[in-house]
């Protein structure tokens, strides 16, 4: 139920936006809960964008994971 899927905002019209779920799957979603701009990635749950995804944080997560692992692997407890 709490499933939410990332999608890219293509066009914003008031509280509605046309988004791309990838692979050419386009859909109109309600954006009343976020301040979405064209080019943003949003998390969509049951037809409503519930949050804007942070692309920089997404990269940072991957970098951090690798860093933690490298650090732990070279300094085992």
């Amino acid at each position: 139920m709490c499933l939410a899927i990332p999608a890219k905002v293509l066009e914003v019209k008031g509280d509605k936006a046309q988004v791309d779920f990838g692979g050419g799957v386009l859909r109109e979603v309600n954006t009343a809960l976020v301040n979405a701009k064209v080019g943003n990635y949003v998390l969509v749950h049951a037809g409503y964008a519930i949050q804007i995804l942070d692309e920089q944080e997404a990269q940072e997560t991957l970098r951090l994971w690798n860093e933690i692992l490298e650090n732990e692997e070279t300094n085992p407890r």
Binding site: M1, C2, L3, A4, P6, A7, K8, D20, F21, G22, N30, A32, L33, V34, N35, Y41, L43, H45, A46, G47, Y48, I50, Q51, L53, D54, E55, E57, A58, E60, T61, L62, W65, N66, L69, E72, E73, P76, R77
Partner: protein, 357 residues
């Protein structure tokens, strides 16, 4: 960011699993609880439990909003549908057993019960068919409640009312941590609920109950890292709240959504199927929007229903006390086609997920 393959990297997963094995206690066991059906799906679908050492157990808490809707609230919806109101709801709800029948049984008897993907579909239907009365059965946790709030605040059509059955997750987590015989050692907090409520509502778990608490995303690597972070905190004996899902969850959550929820709803005690009443865990319509309440508009109110059918052990599955396979009905009498208990109904119910594993 719509391709998630980077978060499913097998080589990286192997390395995390190796760290988990290194960090896991050599004696005794660690019991980690998540409270989200989507986490259970990730764990089961990607076989993550097979990567964990025997000393680390991950159990599923009451994270399926369909499974915890009490029979009395299904009974109310059934009664409304039988009165001639068009009952709209998410598809998962259709087979959820009421005290005597489900919404699907009611539909088979000729009532107008319609599945919608979103509350906005219910609004559209009510706008197009002004000669009929519509009710939307609004279920779900904090992830879903804001969408209901949007439509409540947006002057919905006069022929649409709401049966609000939304529930809140942190009070249920508190109930779990206070069940001493569950012996929990850490929480994986639900990522998408957290996009709305932020981090603060979880602070009490490390502070008051000394429970490591990690807000995690839903890719296999998110969950594995969540488990690893909990084990590390336990080793360091320094329980705290950490956010693994920073790409979607901010400390303050979604303030716009929180404000809309505050306007549309009040918080009250609520009954959860299999768990009983939990203080301040249910949303109802606020005074200002009471005219949209289907209870008042159509004179329907059922206080008590039959939540657990004879033989069903959903109430133990839902708190992770037993595994679905330990229920005598599992896949014998109770199957996805003919569910006895609510945990077998929704695609996020623990029994339903295990039925496919």
């Amino acid at each position: 960011m719509t391709e998630n393959t980077r978060y499913r990297d097998a080589a990286l997963a192997k390395r995390v699993a190796e760290r988990i094995r290194e960090t896991a206690p050599k004696e005794g066991t660690v019991k980690i609880c998540h409270v989200c059906g989507t986490h259970e799906w990730t764990i089961t679908h990607y076989g993550l439990r097979s990567l964990l050492p025997a000393s680390v157990e991950v159990i599923a808490g009451p994270g399926c909003p369909v499974c915890i809707v009490p029979a009395s609230e299904i009974d109310e919806a059934v009664q409304l549908a039988l009165k001639g109101v068009v009952l709209t709801c998410f598809g998962d709800l259709l087979r959820v057993p009421g005290s005597r029948k489900s919404l699907l049984d009611t539909k088979a008897e000729g009532a107008d019960v319609r599945v919608v993907y979103s509350v906005s579909d219910a609004v559209k239907m009510a706008q197009e068919e002004t000669n009929k009365e519509f009710t939307f059965l609004a279920i779900g946790f904090e992830t879903t409640a804001p969408s209901t709030a949007v439509e409540i605040l947006n002057s919905p059509p006069r022929n649409l009312s709401f049966l609000v059955s939304h529930r809140l997750i942190p009070p249920a987590m508190q109930l779990l941590v206070e069940m001493k015989d569950l012996n929990l050692n850490g929480f994986i907090a639900p990522g998408h609920v957290s996009t709305i409520i932020g981090l603060d509502p979880y602070e009490i778990f490390p502070k008051v109950y000394r429970m490591p608490t990690i807000v995690a995303g839903f890719e296999p690597l998110d969950v594995l890292f969540g488990i690893y972070m909990i084990l590390k905190q336990l080793n360091e004996e320094n329980p705290r709240l950490e956010n693994e899902y920073t790409r979607a969850v901010h400390k303050e959550g979604n303030i716009k959504a929180q404000e809309m929820m505050r306007k549309a709803f009040n918080m009250t005690d609520g009954n959860w199927r299999g768990l009983g009443s939990i203080p301040a865990s249910k949303l109802t319509l606020s005074k200002e929007y009471a005219h949209l309440d289907a209870h008042l508009k159509h004179g329907v109110k059922i206080e008590q229903g039959v939540d657990i059918q004879p033989g069903c052990r959903c109430h133990l599955v839902i708190i992770g006390k037993i595994k679905p396979t330990e229920c005598p009905l599992f896949m014998k009498v109770c199957t996805p086609r003919k569910p006895v208990g609510a945990c077998m109904v929704s695609s996020e119910g623990t029994c339903r997920i295990w039925s496919r594993a």
